[in-house]
Amino acid sequence: MKCRLFYTFFVQSIDIGKIIGIIENVRYYNSSAPTVPLFNIISGGTLMSEKLLNYILEKKHHEFRVDYTENLAEEYSKKGFSPEERMADRFERLCLAQVPHILPEEQICYVRTTRQIPDCFTEAEWSEIKSEHFIHELGYISNLSPNYEDVIAKGLLACRESADEYSKRAIDNIIALADRYKAEAERVGRADIAAVLTRVPRYGATSFREALQFFRILHFSLWLEGNYHNTVGRFDKYMYPYFKADMDAGIYTPETALALIEDFFLSFNKDSDLYVGVQQGDNGQSMVLGGIDENGNDCFSELSKLCLIASRNLKMIDPKINLRVSKNTPIEQYMLGTELTKAGLGFPQYSNDDIVIPALIKKGYAPEDAANYVVAACWEFIIPKCGFDVANIAALSFPKMVDNVLHKDLASCESFDDVMAAVKREITAECDRVTESIKNLWFVPSPFMNVMLTERKYKNFGMHGTGIATASDSLAAIKKYVYDEKYITSEEFVKAVDDNFENTPELLDKLRNEAPKMGNNDDAADSVSVALLDMFADALDGKTNCEGGVWRAGTGSAMFYLWHANDIGASPDGRRKGEPFGTNFSASLFAKIAGPVSVVKSFTKQHFERAINGGPLTLEFHNSVFRGEDAISKVASIVKYFIDRGGHQLQLNAVNLETMKDAQAHPENYQRLVVRIWGWSAYFVELDREYQDHVIARQEYTV
């Protein structure tokens, strides 16, 4: 007989709690299939309506979309509308322009039927605004974690009582659209949906399904109002009471609950192609699971497990799953997370409560708020319900600081200590410059976000730190070859870098293949990174921003790993002009690294308690690592190792180089191939070539 290559799970009912036990016990030799496979943890089939899933995958709902291209800005400008009036009016018109559609067999409804959201201000008006204010990105509110919890519990009518005129209009429009959805549901014979919409969004949810539908309406409305990177927050925490009550009442079995969650997760993907960030997929629909609450209790529940499984089954890029863990997290949670990693989505991203919470407290967050942290669109740590931080307002390029020192100071530095002192001066000066340049911050007022985020306790700013490995390797190379071994003079080194190593192939070879690199647990490079991050934290410590908040140093790069790399030429680590940096907090792309254990060691030495804006280490695993009977527990063990060593944030990629290369050649065959980019996952074929190439380059050195 032919032997099974994969574990297949033959379980009569889905007792999620037993899955881990099953993983450990299943062996495949000589097994014959005893029963119908209800739940197959490897192939991960969905339990939700196949008809609905295919409907969305085939993009049939796109047929309902129409263009909405009215020039509202001109009209508002002529009428002399205030910003609040413009936002309220635009939202009203967009709500009215929606045509309710109930999709086949869906439990959670709402689908956007207008493509565009026209700007509220003319170009001339923006110029004027920008002459007086610092405008962050698009100027509209983004990257926050609204108070879904209270609004879902209270209902919009209760929220309306304390709302201002504009927010009342927003609420009225949301309720009116819900009523039209209800009428449409009745028309097509979906009494179940109509019943849900009778209760929500007017009143607080009384069931799990009502709560999910309520969330969908709120989230949909935030997007429609023009806010962006609308995150999901601690979903398993605020939804748990509804879930538990319905499970206890026997309304759902684990299977039917999973099917509902899949249906709900699918709703994040109905309109997401309209929510474009820097690249398709960069839409900030981040969900946080697990972690401790304000009393130190673990929030990871059966609902959390079902969310991990639903994401694994759907294999779609939204919602983006984050898992909060700590030293006390049992290996079983990591194993469930690893099952999701194996699916190749780049989820979950892990963050370490043991590091993040104390660090946030140190930055001035109240302990109960710090305990409740979530991630913004990618990985910036923010506070749900009361945080109004701008976690991605600026970015420091570490390699640029080194480049400045190279050209301004190196010739006069007598020792490596002098070099590091010069680097510290550069970092301090750059942080001074950036923090002073951001004044009079202004966001377009957002009437509905005002309902969703009434309390705004924290107005801190976060700054990314890009290319730390490139900078650390560069400085380590300068130390080794200029000061320790005196292989080359500082003048010759600068010239070689400026010449892009064209005339110094042997130096280039040394730098690329022999010099110390982060990722090898080599203190020669790692200790420099520790110093650099400390300098960054020192430079921002004690600074007050224009909103009265503090500044936070981070380890993220966002898209700057490409942009900042083009700001400088070659670098002293042997990186040639035009080669990008690693993403976020990761090794240099061309560094020969010993393996993931050494990488984890190199990237857990830094003082994250001082630099907690977020930005993960990325580990890339060839997908063959996930073959074999103990693969899940083996990969889970390195995640746990990272957390136990005090790492702050980690994302993992399961990738196959051959698959990606083939996808570049034959994109039509890989419509659903997902890869992790910087703080989000994307469909590979929808990325611009330079982002595709960067992901491929990362793999060339993967184990």
């Binding site: 290559l5 030799y29 192939p505 070879d509 010993a594 393996g595 074999g628 527990s633 190792y641 136990d644």
Partner: protein
């Protein structure tokens, strides 16, 4: 003392229990036609070119005066893409043990350890024994083809917690034909292993129409008795590295026949 190692792989998940670091010793007395590590065959350091990305600029073939390039026909330092390297590094057993033990904490967490593979570890038995002696705190495993004298075999066996031993072909003539040497010492060591009581796994590479025949598998099952067996499916990329070390892969490959696991008492297919 020193030994020659051609690779050290961290986070090795297919070479024994837990997550392991695998040390690949250079040099092998066999010359199996399907070997997927051709750079491990010769016992001495040799040049390897990652040909897939080579732009044929010719810089590595220009004359140079580097001492370390002398034994080779190419310059090791000229390639703009770093594709030319020497495979085979001399390691001192103390230093290697020290390096491996850096990750001992993680090995313990994951229930892993160190595996010494190859090439063929028994070809550098003295070095391997010394290395194992310095790793006595961690779980030690060896992957061997078993082609060596009883003394070397038993000395290594004495120093490990797990032996993974290949048995490729039961028939001596076929073994000579496909692996270049007789299997007589291998089968003698197999008997020693079975009698030793040492935990072990027998591994059988499934090479289409060569080792995966019913006759061969049946004969192997008779030889090994109750010992646990892992069957290794044929790797169609086995020939990938030959060009890089100036060799030619001569096997046609193909697909594995329908393998009947019930031939064995205790077998599974390795993923």
């Amino acid at each position: 003392m020193t030994g020659i190692v051609f690779d050290i792989k961290e986070f090795s998940v297919h070479d024994g229990p837990g997550v392991r670091t695998t040390v690949f010793m250079k040099g092998c007395p066999l010359s199996c036609k399907w070997c997927h590590n051709p750079e491990g065959l010769s016992p001495t350091p040799e040049i390897m070119v990652r040909t897939a990305r080579c732009r044929h600029c010719g810089l590595c073939k220009a004359h140079c005066s580097h001492v370390d390039c002398k034994p080779y026909e190419r310059c090791l330092h000229a390639c703009p893409d770093g594709l030319v390297s020497v495979v085979g590094k001399v390691w001192d057993s103390d230093e290697l043990a020290k390096k491996l033990l850096e990750n001992a904490d993680f090995m313990e967490t994951s229930g892993g350890g160190v595996t010494v593979s190859g090439g063929e570890p028994t070809m550098q038995a003295d070095f391997v024994c010394e290395l194992f002696d310095r790793l006595s705190g961690v779980h030690r495993a060896v992957e061997t083809c078993g082609f060596c004298g009883s003394d070397k075999f038993l000395r290594i066996l004495d120093r490990v917690e797990l032996v993974m031993m290949d048995v490729k072909l039961a028939d001596p003539a076929l073994h000579k034909k496909w692996c270049g040497v007789s299997n007589e010492p291998i089968l003698a060591n197999l008997e020693r292993l079975k009698k030793s009581g040492k935990p072990h796994i027998i591994r059988v590479p499934l090479i289409p129409n060569i080792t995966d025949t019913r006759e061969n598998l049946f004969a192997i099952s008779e030889l090994i008795g109750d010992s646990p067996v892992e069957l290794l499916p044929y790797n169609p990329f086995a020939g990938a590295k030959y060009e890089g070390v100036g060799k030619i892969y001569t096997l046609d490959g193909g697909e594995n026949a329908h393998v009947d696991l019930t031939i064995f008492k205790n077998a599974k297919l390795k993923a």
